[in-house]
């Protein structure tokens, strides 16, 4: 199977969209494109599983390399393993749901769907890249359209937020690029030639002092994408100002680019440095988890609540990575998938509420369960998933991270784990406060009585994301089987040497 299709299809769709003007036409094309993408991803999954079942244990399947710029050792090398495949599936789910909830995007619909589809091309390209340069290239593709999506279609302080997001992510990219260059120049493929090739780098021994210099750059760079404390401040403003679909993208996919990069590039390629810096990572992640949760408690805007809670939840990703053991890293990967689906669902529900009531302030909402039972139920379900209720994906991911973290017996790690565990209580507090006021309780506004419930497209988007959440929550062994052999593979490198 040719992985290039994953990038080409959205680009073709995006170009195709440009030829049409009417909302009805462009949204149909975008929907077909996103649907096609989901179909390819599912096909990819089944082919992948068949290959694995047939005994193909190569670390990267569907490997393909096309020369791009040989003097600098850049090639468009692609390949996937279980981890990147699960990310691709996540993206496909979120993209399709994002198109569905934007069904009535009247304002400049052509440009909107064009950018949305382009974004997805960036995400897919990122996840399939096995060349650090193209990986970086796709990371950038996934940034620029967001600036416009927020700046043009956003709400509230949208110019400020768009600028803030773009600048901070650009700064992140700059760090990432420095880190990648550091890796590049430390390689040697004969006669002074360097390479961006991921597999070649992973097999080369990079000197420790190089690692110590470039690991923080790469990790912080990707970490900014993944809401690493204290560089998370683009998250609340960016998410809150973005239109619904863009929020779903941001939280569902973009933040995962960061987590994935932290794991795949920074930690995997520079494992010795990762061991040295692990305590700092864990410190920052724990702060993000608990402090993000407390900061969420004081938010009054539903989108801010979900954005801050994303900071807290993405902390689990970084915590899992920082623990540097197999269980915790598997948990981090699960948390990425789980958080992606769950926040996308949450933002979708908030978007639906906002579209109807024109407010996101908790104080102005109340008793929505009576008026819009479907949307309210979705809201409550995503809340319950967020607070880690068994049966939904969040529980599986968080527990795996906790179990992995507890394997470290040092006091510092134990305290970090206990504090992170404590966040499940704080999460329950803020989720129930928000739901208790806006969804339950007496009706806040008589005019809300005339509002309608979800339409077919919104229902399909919600059911799509929910099915992912529930499948992982009820049958986590499938996801585990998909990712754990490859997490095990990562451990060959990550567990390679330990510098106390």
């Amino acid at each position: 199977m040719n992985l290039h299709l994953l990038v080409i299809a959205p680009i073709v769709t995006a170009v195709f969209i440009l030829f049409f003007k009417e909302l009805r036409q462009v949204r149909m094309i975008a929907l077909l494109g996103a649907g096609f993408q989901l179909i390819i991803s599912v096909l990819l999954l089944s082919t992948f599983c068949n290959e694995r079942a047939a005994g193909n244990t190569a670390p990267m399947l569907f490997y393909n390399s096309v020369e791009w710029f040989s003097p600098l050792g850049i090639a468009f090398t692609t390949g996937i393993d279980g981890i990147s495949l699960s990310m691709i599936l996540l993206s496909a789910f979120v993209v399709l749901a994002g198109v569905l909830v934007s069904w009535k995007m009247e304002k400049m619909s052509r440009e909107f769907f064009f950018l949305l589809t382009l974004l997805s091309a960036g995400a897919y390209g990122f996840f399939i890249s096995l060349d650090l340069f193209t990986l970086f290239f796709f990371l950038e593709i996934a940034v620029i359209p967001k600036f416009m999506l927020i700046g043009i279609w956003g709400s509230g302080r949208k110019e400020y937020s768009a600028m803030k997001l773009a600048l901070m992510l650009m700064a992140g990219s700059a760090f990432v690029f420095l880190g990648l260059l550091g890796l590049y120049f430390s390689t040697n493929v004969g006669n002074g030639q360097h390479t961006f090739d991921f597999i070649a780098i992973s097999r080369s021994a990079i000197p420790l002092d190089t690692q110590l210099l470039f690991f923080p750059l790469a990790f912080i760079g990707f970490g900014i994408f993944g809401a690493l404390f204290p560089f998370h401040t683009w998250v609340p403003d960016g998410h809150s100002s973005a239109p619904t679909a863009a929020s779903m993208f941001l939280a569902g996919i973009s933040m995962k680019l960061g987590g994935y990069g932290c794991l795949r590039v920074a930690t995997y390629l520079m494992p010795e440095a990762a061991h040295v810096y692990a305590p700092y990572i864990i410190l920052l992640a724990t702060i993000a988890i608990i402090y993000g949760a407390f900061a969420t408690m004081m938010q009054t805007d539903l989108k801010y609540i979900n954005a801050y809670s994303s900071v807290s939840h993405c902390g689990f990703v970084l915590l899992g990575i920082g623990m540097l053991n197999e269980t915790a890293i598997a948990g981090a990967v699960m948390q990425m998938i789980s958080h992606g689906l769950m926040t996308a669902l949450f933002f979708a529900a908030i978007g639906m509420i906002y579209e109807r009531t024109h407010t996101r302030m908790v104080a102005q909402l109340g008793g929505l369960l009576k008026v819009m039972p479907f949307i309210s139920t979705i809201f409550i379900i995503s809340g319950l998933c967020s607070l880690g209720l068994p049966g939904f994906s969040g529980f599986v991911a968080e527990m795996t991270v906790f179990m992995g973290s507890w394997q470290h017996t040092e006091m510092f790690y134990r305290i970090a784990t206990i504090l992170s565990c404590a966040s499940i209580v704080v999460t329950a507090v803020y989720i129930l406060r928000a739901a208790g006021k806006s969804i339950m309780g007496p009706l806040a506004n008589e005019q809300h009585l005339s509002l309608g419930d979800a339409t077919w497209n919104e229902k399909s988007a919600a059911v799509l994301l929910l099915s992912g959440i529930v499948v992982i929550g009820i049958a986590p062994f499938w996801l585990n089987e998909l990712i754990s052999p490859d997490v095990n593979g990562l451990m060959v490198n990550i567990g390679r040497t330990f510098i106390p």
Binding site: P230, T233, M297, M298, T400, M403, A422, L432, G436, F477
Partner: protein, 645 residues
């Protein structure tokens, strides 16, 4: 049908009913939903009883073994450590299957009448089914993480049902409180699981218990040698797990959610907050009992004192409350306290395990008479449209069936022979007498108080004032439908007869049948105390008089403190509002907005300011550029010359 299939059916039927009613109920099955839920539960209950019959009576081994009927690996963490889903069949799980399905069936039937005409009838039944499913999954758990998962699920079903009347702010507040308090307790449970799982390198109950009770097993040695703050890892693990149990079972000081939980529909209170979910904590301790008893008596002592304090504390409060459901809630807490300390005083194996059997016995009988009390109270509330004692009185004539069944339940809980509560309480007291005299006397005192407040409740509802029936006669619907009365009658049979079951022959700490001799001499004192409690209540409350007011006036200090529930709620409120909100959450949000985000913005402003300074350089004037060029050229030349020299 094999054992595994039968139990799978028992558990999955309510799940099916939940999904069916939850997804399609509101739109398509509204009127049918009650019947669907009830039928699935009826099948479950019949199958449970059949399972119990098979397990207890067709057993030829002479002792009751733990059987793992079915098991699958659900999520693997690392070598040997995984979450499994499965069915563990042993005396306590089989007993719980029967209790849960029978009480749940009664509540389903009762609700057909009680909730009739409710707008969200289907939702109500789907939540009831969800609860039943979760509770059944909890009792058959093979893995400590499985129990934790279903534990959370019963928590959320309880949340959904307490908040069932979601337009009432008090119901929403109560549901939040219940969830958050138990979540806090579950944090302890979770960390306890992490500790125990890490020490024993397994999460499977059978292996876990084996590894942590075999003396000199390397797991036990390492778990008891490592120490933190003076307690071993094992002690910490067990105490934290018990914290979860104490939260769910509303033990002091984590009980504050239970009285408020009475905001839910009354049948829900009967099922969740009296008979089944709240005893989950007792069940959890019983499940891990060998570890507590053999390897960590210190932790068991904590269980004992928590139980004793809760029993007495709740009984004192119950004497002062005026909302009949709250009286019952505190009485539930008190009775669960009995079950807890019965476990606490128990040893492991043979005669020493009397407390264990007694605790399970009391759990069993309590489920019947407490469900009966709540359903009876529900009938009264249905009739009067109020929860307050002052609106009631003299109802014995207009509600004869409710009256008789309620009286039976009151006698049972007061411990009057030959009603069920007498036998189980008697066993608990005997066990306590052998183990710890202090506990015994407190328990005895509590038994007297129990008899007093239960009959205070009884007289206030059914006697006292003459019935104010005038306005009720016009609009009300009689005593209630038959669907409400039949469960009362069935449960009262349980409240009368359950005590005659020779419980020790079935349930014991080590699985070997235990013959418990009945000693009349030991039963005399408790009965005398119970009867005097009743007599005192009769004196005060049978007819309307001013004696209660005088009594409360003469003990004003203690009365007021008990009436205000010993101000525990206020303490919690202080901690959450003043400390957590004002000292942690608000500063976090402030720091984020002003310091962290502020510094990011500051950085941006700095860049803007700097670039403003620099941008004048790029003026576009050729003369300026020429000047810069020559200055730079001059500078570089000068520098080069300097360096060369």
């Amino acid at each position: 049908m094999s054992l595994a299939t039968t139990i799978q059916l028992i558990v999955l039927l309510p799940l099916g009913s939940f999904l069916l009613l939850g997804i399609f109920g509101r739109k398509y099955l509204s009127s049918l939903s009650g019947m669907i839920g009830t039928t699935s539960l009826l099948v479950s209950a019949i199958l449970s009883i059949q399972t119990a019959y098979q397990y207890f009576f067709l057993n030829t081994a002479g002792s009751f073994e733990k059987i793992i009927a079915w098991k699958m690996t659900w999520l693997t963490f690392s070598e040997g450590v995984s979450i499994d889903m499965g069915i563990l069949v042993d005396p306590i799980s089989v007993m719980m299957l029967v209790v849960v399905t029978v009480v749940s069936l009664m509540v389903h039937v009762y609700s057909l009448g009680y909730m009739k005409g409710d707008e969200r009838f289907a939702t109500y039944y789907s939540f009831l089914s969800l609860f039943t499913f979760s509770m059944l999954g909890l009792v058959i758990a093979v893995n400590i993480f499985q129990i934790y998962m279903f534990w959370e699920l019963v928590g959320v079903s309880s949340f959904l049902l307490i908040g069932y009347y979601f337009e009432k702010p008090s119901a929403v507040a109560a549901s939040k409180k219940a969830f958050i308090v138990t979540r806090f307790a579950d944090l302890g449970f979770l960390i306890g699981i992490l500790i125990l799982g890490f020490e024993a390198k397994t999460l499977d109950f059978v292996t876990l218990i084996e590894r942590l009770t075999t003396s000199n097993s390397p797991y036990l040695v390492s778990a008891t040698t490592a120490s933190f703050l003076g307690a071993s890892a094992l002690t910490w693990g067990l105490l934290l797990v018990f914290m979860g149990g104490a939260g769910k079972s509303a033990m002091f000081p984590l009980h504050i959610w239970l009285p408020d939980a009475m905001e839910g529909p009354t049948p829900v209170s009967a099922l969740i907050h009296a008979a089944t979910m709240v005893v989950a904590g007792v069940f959890l301790v019983a499940r891990l009992f060998p570890i507590f008893s053999i390897s960590c008596p210190g932790a068991l002592e904590v269980v004992m004192w928590t139980g004793v304090i809760s029993a007495l504390f709740a009984a004192l409060i119950a004497c002062t409350q005026t909302d009949i459901k709250r009286v019952l809630a505190y009485s539930t807490m008190s009775q669960i306290g009995y079950m807890m300390f019965a476990l606490g005083v128990s040893g492991y194996g043979n005669e020493a395990g009397l407390g264990f059997t007694a605790s399970m016995f009391h759990l069993f009988t309590h489920a019947f008479f407490k469900a009966l009390l709540f359903l009876g109270a529900g009938a009264v509330i249905h009739y009067i449209h109020s929860n307050e004692m002052k609106d009631m009185g003299g109802l014995r004539k207009s509600m004869p069936i409710t009256h008789i069944t309620f009286l039976i339940a009151c006698l049972a809980i007061a411990g009057i022979p030959p009603f069920a509560g007498f036998f189980s309480k008697e066993e608990i007291l005997t066990a306590a007498h052998h183990a710890n005299p202090m506990v015994y006397y407190i328990a005895l005192l509590t038994a007297g108080i129990t008899a007093f407040y239960m009959f205070r409740l009884y007289y206030n509802i059914f006697w006292s004032k003459e019935a104010k029936t005038a306005h009720h006669d016009d609009d009300h619907h009689g005593e209630g439908t038959w669907s409400m009365k039949i469960p009362l009658l069935i449960l009262s049979v349980g409240a009368i007869a359950a005590g005659f079951i020779p419980f020790g022959s079935f349930v014991s700490s080590d699985g070997h049948p235990l013959h418990i001799p009945f000693e009349i001499s030991a039963a005399i004192l408790p009965v005398i105390i119970a009867v005097s409690g009743i007599a005192l209540a009769t004196l005060f409350y049978k007819t309307e008089n001013d004696r209660p007011d005088k009594l409360s006036a003469s003990f004003q200090g203690i009365y007021k403190t008990a009436y205000h529930k010993f101000y525990i709620d206020e303490i919690y409120l202080f901690i959450t509002k003043k400390i957590v909100f004002n000292l942690i959450a608000q500063p976090s949000a402030w720091v984020d907005k002003n310091i962290i985000d502020g510094s990011m913005n500051g950085l941006a402003s700095l860049v803007v300011w700097k670039s403003n300074l620099i941008k004048s350089i790029q003026s576009g004037k050729v003369q300026d550029y020429a000047l810069y060029f020559f200055l730079a050229a001059f500078g570089i030349t000068a520098l080069t010359i300097y360096l060369v020299n």
